[in-house]
């Protein structure tokens, strides 16, 4: 089933000189983990904003085409009806706190208060999320005193508490160290197991290779590649669009070009073992 669908979308920001997208189409199935990659400025964040309705509801621009959430046009929906359906985690962790709550615990409850979730249920969900994200140590802290990485985790917690079935996550790990990054991907894995639909913008390509079902590469106002993770992340061409390939895929490509043909370019460790096991 299609959770989100973009139909012949063209978009230009009001103050932009050039279009960001031209006639882009895309559909995302329920339960899929789709990674969006592409060089800086290729429109990843813009696409996320469009899928969440922030564009055009909050940020205007010239827009053609349509964006559907389960067959209903997001363009015609009320923005307030989307908040419990599509969760959005921003690239910049510093803008993500409400700015009015005194503790992380209450910060996580903010969205639930706005949705009018009854207090008992609210507490249950806050506690559950705190446990899931292992942020017990932060719960009594003031949100403004947190580091970037801590804020990012609190932001994720705050959105997950609202329990949306679709999640858009824009570069969640850019402020995090390897351990923090690993923790976020652990959470993403759990969300995937809960059958959430996830749209993830991420630069750390090795992690995409490991976790994503599907990869979409944006470049020059449109999608250049769209396919399963192992299919896209084994293409040498990907590197000519300003994105990296997993180390393993690079090794495979190099080996394939210089040593001998491989049956398949691997993108994760298991595939590599499979491909190389009778070579050595």
């Amino acid at each position: 089933m299609k959770a989100l669908e973009v139909k012949n979308l063209s978009f230009k920001y009001l103050i932009g000189k050039e279009k960001v997208f031209e006639n882009l189409s895309l559909s995302i199935n329920k339960g899929e983990l789709v990674a969006i990659i592409g060089r800086n400025g290729s429109g990843k964040t813009t696409l996320c904003n469009l899928l969440r309705g922030f564009i055009p509801h909050l940020t205007q621009g010239d827009l053609e085409g349509d964006i559907l959430l389960y067959d209903d046009s997001i363009l015609k929906m009320d923005l307030s009806d989307l908040s419990d359906k599509i969760g959005y985690i921003f690239q910049n962790p510093f803008i993500q706190i409400s700015g009015i709550k005194e503790t992380v615990y209450e910060e996580i409850g903010f969205g639930l208060e706005n949705l009018g979730v009854p207090r008992d249920e609210m507490i249950r969900r806050i506690e559950e999320i705190i446990k899931l994200l292992k942020i017990e140590d932060l719960k009594d802290k003031h949100p403004a005193e947190l580091s970037g990485g801590q804020r990012q985790r609190v932001a994720i917690a705050s959105i997950l508490a609202m329990d949306p079935e679709i999640l858009i996550i824009d570069e969640p790990t850019s402020q995090l160290d390897p351990k923090g990054t690993e923790e976020i991907f652990e959470i993403i894995k759990i969300l995937k197991e809960q059958n959430k639909t996830i749209i993830l913008v991420e630069h750390k390509i090795d992690l995409i290779a490991e976790y994503a079902d599907r990869v979409i590469l944006l470049n020059d106002k449109n999608i250049v590649f769209d396919g399963t993770t192992s299919e896209i992340l084994s293409k040498e061409d990907v590197m000519s669009y300003g994105t990296n390939l997993p180390q393993i895929a690079k090794l495979g490509i190099e080996y394939n070009n210089k040593v001998e043909k491989l049956s398949k370019i691997p993108s994760v460790l298991e595939e590599a073992v499979e491909v190389f096991k009778d070579k050595v």
Partner: protein, 253 residues
């Protein structure tokens, strides 16, 4: 820590009582009300609530700042012929003294009651109690956010100042130097705040801020019976007091 009787009171009730007393003081125009009734009662309540020290510090510093000034201006510069005390160009008159006492008494009523309200109330609790009576979310948000923004802004302006200093702009020294240094910090401060506001709209939207559902609240506040009755009792007392003051033959002016 156990809460004192004032701290335990429902925030909205406290606020209403404070305003009732303030209004009464304006209406009756008797300086004794502020100085002999409200002021001692507020200090007593602060004492009972265990907040005496920080409360009296705030009240005194607020009084010293503008209270004394108002009192002196009113007392010595109200034109009149009934001079009771004189020194050089300073003339203290009966009318002047009366006016000064009345004005400062009213101010002290507002000051002492509201300071006690804020001293004994968590501001978020106050907002929640107001929201429950129908104050729009957005109004509560703006209020709370601006309160929290002040330390954030000053932190940010310090960072900008540091950056300016690194670029060789003088930021320390006399008043003039600092003023000159202040203006260049202003535009980055304003611009960064404005872009933050744009982002804030999306951030709040992501948290269902504009949802049409009625809000629920994590803070579990409810007015006890005493919280509901007390404002009415105070109102009754204030009305009786006004009657006593204004109706000839009863108390009477």
């Amino acid at each position: 820590m156990k809460k004192g009787i004032v701290s335990k009171m429902y925030p909205l009730s406290k606020l209403i009582i404070a305003l009732l007393l303030g209004i009464t003081s304006i209406v009756v125009h008797q300086w004794q009300f502020g100085y002999f009734v409200v002021l001692p009662v507020m200090f007593m309540l602060a004492l009972v609530d265990g907040k005496f020290k920080s409360y009296s510090k705030k009240v005194l510093s607020a009084m010293i700042i503008f209270f004394l000034f108002i009192f002196l201006v009113q007392a010595f510069f109200t034109p009149s012929s009934n001079i009771i005390w004189e020194w050089k160009f300073l003339k203290l008159s009966v009318e002047g003294l009366d006016k000064a006492l009345n004005l400062t008494s009213t101010i002290s009523v507002f000051l002492t009651t509201l300071l006690l309200v804020f001293e004994t109330t968590n501001i978020t609790d106050l907002m929640v109690s107001l929201q429950k009576t129908g104050m729009p979310n957005s109004a509560a948000y703006v209020f709370l956010a601006s309160l929290q923004m002040i330390p954030e802004m000053s932190k940010r302006s310090k960072v900008i100042m540091q950056a300016q200093r690194a670029r060789g702009i003088e930021t320390e020294g006399n008043m003039w130097v600092r003023t000159k240094a202040f203006f260049p910090t202003l535009s980055p401060l304003i611009i960064s705040s404005i872009t933050d506001i744009g982002d804030k709209a999306a951030t709040l939207e992501a948290r269902a801020f504009s949802s049409s559902n009625p809000n629920s609240f994590y803070r579990d506040l409810s007015a006890r019976r005493i919280d509901k009755i007390l404002p009415w009792l105070i109102l009754l007392a204030c009305v009786l007091y006004m009657v006593w003051v204004f109706v000839p033959g009863i108390g009477g002016m």
